[in-house]
Amino acid sequence: MSADLAEGESRLLYPPPGLPPGGDGPAQAGPADEDLRVVAARHPGRWIATAVVGVLLAMVVSSLVTNDRWEWDVVARYLTWPSILEGAWATVRLTATASVVGFALGTVLALMRLSRSPLLQAVSWAYTWVFRSVPLLLQLLLWYNLAYLYPVLSLGIPFGPEFLFFDTLDLIDKFWAAILGLGLSQAAYSAEIVRAGILGVDQGQHEAAASLGIPRHRQVRRIILPQAMRSIVPTAVNEVIGLLKGTSIVYVLAYGELFYIVSVIYGRNGRVVPLLIVAAIWYLALTTLITVVQYYVERHYAKGALRTLPPTPVQRVRWEIQVGWSRLTGAPVPDGVPPAFAARVRVGRWVAPRGGAA
């Protein structure tokens, strides 16, 4: 690379230095090979599409701002209203608990389905069949009415004496009816996701673990599940997001989650649309949070599957700023910025050779 280039600049060279010029034909007269100009291809279609989408976007934003029926002031007022916050928190609690119940039971069901016992397989299959087939709304109402079927629940020896008695109405309140409904039906879906993940792990991994004599539970927990997680996580997060929104169905039990609270408030003050927007914003925010968590969880389980992990968004922003700063000021790129990244930021940027023929 010629010495007149500043540190950090690059020049497209053809042919690469060290090779004789003009491999397959007589060398052409004209400017020296290293001063050839590169002209990027034009993409008129892309420009037109960009303009169309830009106009549409402007129309949406303008209507959001100028149409005062959105009542943004009402939205702003209710967004952090104490009972709305409580509702959002209840939604988070429902989602978290139902996810834990759903995936814990789902993992057990998946392992049952993969076991060699025909009865365990059949029970797992039947569970998935029933809970996937019956609408969630119906399940919720059934669980809520469990006290009608069994007024008293008891702990004891099967078909033998019983020691502990609970009043069903005390035990299964609205929250636990919701958890039973959401969690048990979630388990049916989770079971299939976990099973698919386990089946996706290479047979050689099972064999290697077995040939080393590693105990069975350790094989599953240490060798198989961590690798299965890589394919389980994206689908599982989908399910958790579905569950987050699905909790709104619990409003039929008059449980105070986000959607129920919102509907109570607009039932009183008639501001239906702004309050629905409040709920939408909260669902959006919570989903965003889950998506961020997903990114880092996926990154965790990608260890070993990728040779080098991609940078986190935080790292990416930091490096971008550092590289941009050093390009502005001419300061050297700080240590810690990977060379490949520094180079990638420059891709597509043609650095004109100084004092060249162009």
Binding site: A209, L212, G213
Partner: protein, 254 residues
């Protein structure tokens, strides 16, 4: 390390209608290095997997130092052992796979110490110290914290060998250890196996490398169509085969 006595008697194994093994008899003496050669589909890999009880045999048995692998003998019946007991007995046998089968999400060191700690219940500090020694022996002392995908195929297979040795096995089985490697990486793996051949551990190596078999094996075993066709010292089997099938195979591969 002292080698184990491996005895294989009348082993049959079918997959559906396909008879992979049709009565295999083989004895490998303590410290002996046996190279198993033969055309693909001759049952070599199945035999190796049967030794380790990764495949259940239909008939016959395999024993290591007189202890049956996978079964307990009561008079004339063989009762299959519980999985826990089979796993325990397997720790006396190391297995090196064609495709390495390292655990990609664990570091090299974690791969090697997993079985000594969790299958044999050895203290972590001791297992790690020994693992580092083994990694040094296979020339990978500086890659203990790398993950398998960051290594070349030859390096991965050397880690797999270290992982198998970490159990201090009496027998190590190699299932075509160099078949998945680029030609220039074969040598480093064969070098490690060759070094191992002098240490007194019993080795059974299924291989396509006839030259390598000649170099390290005490006994060459030729298998075809699910039976052992002939066995003997390398010069005898490879240079003056008694059977036409052996001769035909050797003409093809040499």
């Amino acid at each position: 390390m002292t080698g184990g006595l491996l005895e294989i008697r009348g082993v049959h194994k079918s997959f559906g209608l396909l008879e992979a093994l049709r009565g295999v008899d083989l004895t490998v003496r303590p410290g002996e290095v046996a190279a198993v050669i033969g055309p693909s589909g001759s049952g070599k890999s199945t035999l190796l997997r049967a030794i380790n009880h990764l495949e259940k045999v239909d008939r016959g048995f395999v024993s290591l130092d007189g202890e049956l692998i996978g079964y307990a003998r009561h008079g004339n019946t063989l009762r299959e052992l519980t999985e826990r007991e089979i796993l325990r007995r397997r720790t006396r046998i190391g297995f090196v796979f064609q495709n390495f089968n390292l655990f990609p999400h664990l570091t090299v060191l974690e791969n090697v110490v997993e079985a000594p700690i969790y299958a044999q219940g050895r203290p972590r500090a001791e297992a790690e110290a020994e693992a580092r020694e083994l990694l040094a022996r296979v020339g990978l002392a500086d890659r203990a914290d790398a993950r398998p995908r960051q290594l070349s195929g030859g390096q991965q297979q050397r880690v797999a060998i270290a992982r198998a040795l970490a159990l201090r096995p009496a027998v190590v089985l190699f299932d075509e250890p160099t078949s998945a490697l680029d030609p220039e990486l074969v040598g480093e793996v064969l070098g490690v196996i060759k070094e191992l051949a002098g240490t007194g551990t019993t080795l059974v190596v299924v291989t396509h490398e006839v030259g390598f078999a000649r170099e390290i094996a005490d006994t060459v075993v030729f298998m075809d169509e699910g039976v052992v066709v002939e066995q003997g010292p390398p010069d005898a089997v490879l240079d003056n085969p008694a059977s036409d099938r052996t001769r035909a195979f050797l003409e093809k591969v040499l």
